[in-house]
Amino acid sequence: MDLFLQTLVNGILIGGILICLTIGFQLTFGVLHVIDFAVGGWTMLGGYTAYWLVTLAGIDPFISIFLVFALFLLIGRGLGPLIYHVRTSRYARPDLMALAFTFGIFLFMRGGALWLWSYNSRSVDSVLSGQFLSLGPVTIPLMRLSAFLLAMLFSLGLFILLYRSRFGMAVRALAQNHDHAGLMGVDVKRVSAWVYGIYTALTASAGVLIATIYSVNPSVGIRYTLFAFFVAVLAGLGSVGGVLVAGLALGLLEAYVATYIGARYSLLIVFGTLYLVLLVAPKGVLGRGI
């Protein structure tokens, strides 16, 4: 029973981070209709940025995460118009072109990281490393708890932005129809570019948390791209609310598989589950829409 409870807590804590990892990806799909293959790449780069900030400047990852957020917000905002251009090109199948384009970005990131920083895994140290909180039978690493809370803070921030601001209203209108939003006075290109920036910022921030809990090396990207795909598809592509349910589900599933079956089976069982869920509910758990 204790093990069961401990696993439940572990699963929820990781689930929160997976929500932060996927929520921006999902927003980008809902608004720009781009499936960004580079999602894991942004996660990896966020982790490396935190590593260098703590190694060179001594900034704790729980502080530097805000710097990473700001930095990647600007990077994504800068790259956004290019993504928008590829996605709205008049040539055949711009949806596939965008997928190929982001896959290219992903390979570039992975190759660049290998070249610059070699294959070694780097761990990101924090003052919270090795500290625990005991609640009855359950032991909670303070780092995971803080990471969970920060991930929730970022995700909540996104919801507030989406549902309580003028910008958020424009984003939600855009997710329904680009032309109609434009006719209402929404600068579609500009808002799309900011959406891409928000996505890269959220994803890189999730990368900081992931790198702090585990570690980071140039090939972690593909794993998190797969996880983001899993959560997004389970949630229903484009559904931001569904990510909350699907992220927790993946976190719990992974935790229980790791505890009771073995960590090496986790991807097999995770994607087997996705396959079965899609057979039953092809539109995802909450259906479409922001």
Binding site: R90, R166, M169, A170, R172, A173, Q176, N177, D179, H180, A181, G182, L183, M184, G185, V186, D187, V188, G289, I290
Partner: protein, 238 residues
């Protein structure tokens, strides 16, 4: 007239295909200008070009003498031109109120938007009752009413309607035309693209008929003598 919306010698189309060949239209302020024509005659294409949804290949579009050719779509609302796409273009996942607020997006003044919405919605008892219903679950006619009310939130000089009668029952077409006259009574200039000549002609102050991307007729409803005359214009005569 000084504040008219003018299109001079417009050439445009989709992709590489030219649809509109050298068309000139002028819409006086505060009046209803109707553009009729069969499918593919370029009538919707012209108002899409005015709205900035399509680029003008050549020609000039002016509002009150100021050139607005090639301006991006999102700047049109603040110039005083609102376009209602076919079907109304409401946001299905937004409630009626959210749709109306979206209509005031360009104003960027919460209080002003809410005041305008309250005074507009008073004219629409059906919408009044369904404020918090997602627009996607309203009937086609109700969506059209949301779209018309929404077009007025910024108090525009011109509203352009792309086939407002499409897909509506005859009774609703009639109501929609009454609302269009209501726009004119508020002092709003209207450009309406329509296929339903029978319902739309009686409300028109000036009439254009397009066929094959060319202007075949320009005048007032009195200039159209009878159905045979109309038919002959449609079929490519003069």
């Amino acid at each position: 007239m000084s504040n008219e919306l003018r299109v001079d010698n417009l050439v445009t189309g989709y992709g590489k295909q030219e649809i509109v060949h050298d068309i000139t239209v002028s819409a006086p302020p505060g009046q209803i200008t109707c553009i009729f024509g069969p499918n593919g005659s370029g009538k919707s294409t012209v108002i899409k070009a005015i709205a900035g949804l399509l680029p003008a290949w050549s020609g000039r579009i002016t509002l009150g003498g100021t050139e607005i050719t090639g301006l991006p779509v999102h700047t049109m609302v603040s110039k005083g031109i609102v376009m209602m796409p076919q079907g109304g273009g409401v946001f299905p996942r937004f409630t009626v109120m959210e749709n109306l607020r979206m209509g005031g997006y360009a104003l960027n003044n919460k209080q002003l938007i809410e005041e305008r919405i309250e005074s507009l919605i008073a004219d629409y008892p059906n919408l009044q009752r369904r404020r918090n219903t997602p627009a996607g679950s309203l009937s086609g006619g109700e969506q059209m009413m949301v779209a018309i009310a929404r077009a007025l939130v910024t108090d525009p000089a011109f509203v352009m309607l792309d086939e407002p009668s499409a897909g509506l029952s005859p009774a609703l077409v009639h109501e929609t035309m009454e609302r269009v006259v209501g726009l004119k009574e508020r002092g709003v200039g209207v450009i309406m693209v329509e296929q339903n000549i029978r319902e739309a002609l009686p409300v028109a102050d000036s009439v254009y008929i397009f066929a094959g991307g060319k202007r075949k007729f320009a005048g007032t409803q009195e200039d159209i003598r009878d159905d045979n005359h109309l038919m002959s214009i449609y079929m490519g005569g003069t």
